[in-house]
């Protein structure tokens, strides 16, 4: 049986490089995929992904399984590392609005729902403008003002979309988990 992520992180916290190797192999495609989505340049994405695992190694002892899964903990680290890079570079060839629209396109969500991805199913039930705003904030780190500017809506509308969208997403995730459990 595969070793759990929690056990691997405990091993990393105890300076076990073998645990780190298994952890990296298990998660590298997700981490690199997220980094590439946000920064858009393969070499920079690899740097971000490497930095993510170094930070995970450094903070492995601080991982608290009661607060969430190791995968989302790690992806949150990757997101922060990617956004750090985007904020100091003006040459990132990614248009967050185009990417967010692509991620929450109904056809794509429906396709991924069929493969059993809970967050896709939940987002498919969130109004499209709200889902886009939530992705812009949560994945690309855009503030309400930046979402307003990039999507051409008033600041109040952007903030409302993010707020209502995130709450709706939380409810849909909870409801889907109830059904599956």
């Amino acid at each position: 049986m595969a070793v759990s992520d929690e056990a691997l992180l405990a091993g990393m916290a105890a300076d076990d490089p073998d645990a780190a190797a298994v952890f990296v192999r298990r998660h590298q495609a997700r981490v690199y995929g997220l980094a590439l989505l946000v920064v858009g340049i393969p070499a920079v994405a690899e740097e971000v992904a490497q930095e993510t695992f170094v930070r995970a190694w450094r903070h492995a002892g601080g991982f608290d399984p009661r607060r969430g899964r190791a995968t989302t903990w790690l992806l949150a680290i990757a997101r922060h590392a990617a956004i750090d890079v985007v904020r100091v570079r003006r040459d990132v060839p990614v248009d967050p609005v185009v990417m967010a629209e692509t991620l929450v396109a109904p056809d794509r969500l429906a396709e991924r729902v069929a493969t059993g991805t809970t967050v896709d199913a939940a987002l498919a039930r969130v109004p499209h403008e709200q889902a886009t705003a939530v992705v812009l904030a949560s994945v690309f780190g855009l503030t309400g003002a930046e979402v307003a500017e990039r999507t051409g809506v008033p600041l109040g509308t952007a903030k409302t979309r993010i707020r209502l969208g995130l709450r709706r997403l939380r409810e849909e995730l909870a409801s889907l988990r109830e059904v599956t459990s």
């Binding site: 490089p17 192999r25 590298q28 495609a29 997700r30 995929g33 989505l37 340049i41 393969p42 070499a43 920079v44 994405a45 690899e46 740097e47 992904a49 490497q50 695992f53 170094v54 930070r55 190694w57 450094r58 903070h59 969430g68 995968t71 989302t72 903990w73 949150a76 680290i77 990757a78 997101r79 956004i83 750090d84 100091v88 040459d91 060839p93 991620l103 929450v104 991805t117 809970t118 987002l123 969130v126 939530v134 992705v135 904030a137 949560s138 994945v139 780190g141 855009l142 503030t143 309400g144 903030k159 993010i162 707020r163 209502l164 995130l166 709450r167 709706r168 997403l169 939380r170 995730l173």
Partner: protein, 255 residues
Amino acid sequence: MTTDRPGAPRGGRCDELRDALTDVATGTADGVARAAVGEHLAACDRCREELSALSAAADEVLLLAPEQEPPADFEGRVLARIAGGSGRPVAVRRHRARRRALAVAAGACLALAGGAAVWTATAPDRELAAAYRDTLDVANGRSFAAAELVARDAGPGETPRTVGTVFVYDGDPSWAYVVVGDPGAEDSFDVVVATGPGPGVHPQRLGACTVRDGACTAGGVLDGDPHDVTAVRLEAPDGSTWASTGRPEGWTHGW
């Protein structure tokens, strides 16, 4: 139309902080919003639960990103970096490796961005980034962050004013330094560094910031990991918080 669920936080301060709470959950809040939410959470269980649930939902969104296999031997390069500096703390050579990687990245970027004009236009950014890394290398530093100190004495409807700046350095040693340019009518402050939201975590007192010629400065070596710093406060002699900041800009829980 979607509305907040019936069990969602209600009430004056909770309603005022709805957007700020959302920003903290998505990781886009600025230092002032973080500080305001942090202070409120200490006294509001419902908002604390709300933030926990919203943060979990925001993190789930990251699973939307399509998986992509990184270039060959990615794992080997990560393990080399970890072994090279144990990850904690990171040695100087890590920055050198990073500089090489960034040079490669910059080259790739040049090709993608489609021309020398873009390369030239971004030269000041690259020079700044290189100078920053050189500065860190000199003192085995890993990062340097700054945040505004905002006075707490603004009345209802008034814009809180920035009274100073906190600098936090993550290196060997790690330290924090406070510069207050607008001390108001106070003669001195205690500089207090708060680390971690949990109970049992004692704030560190860095020392007194004594006003001379309308300004004061104070600083010291941090006892703990600077990544754990959640706020820096200036306490007036009566023990009240006169000014504070949230976590320095760019610092996050996944730092």
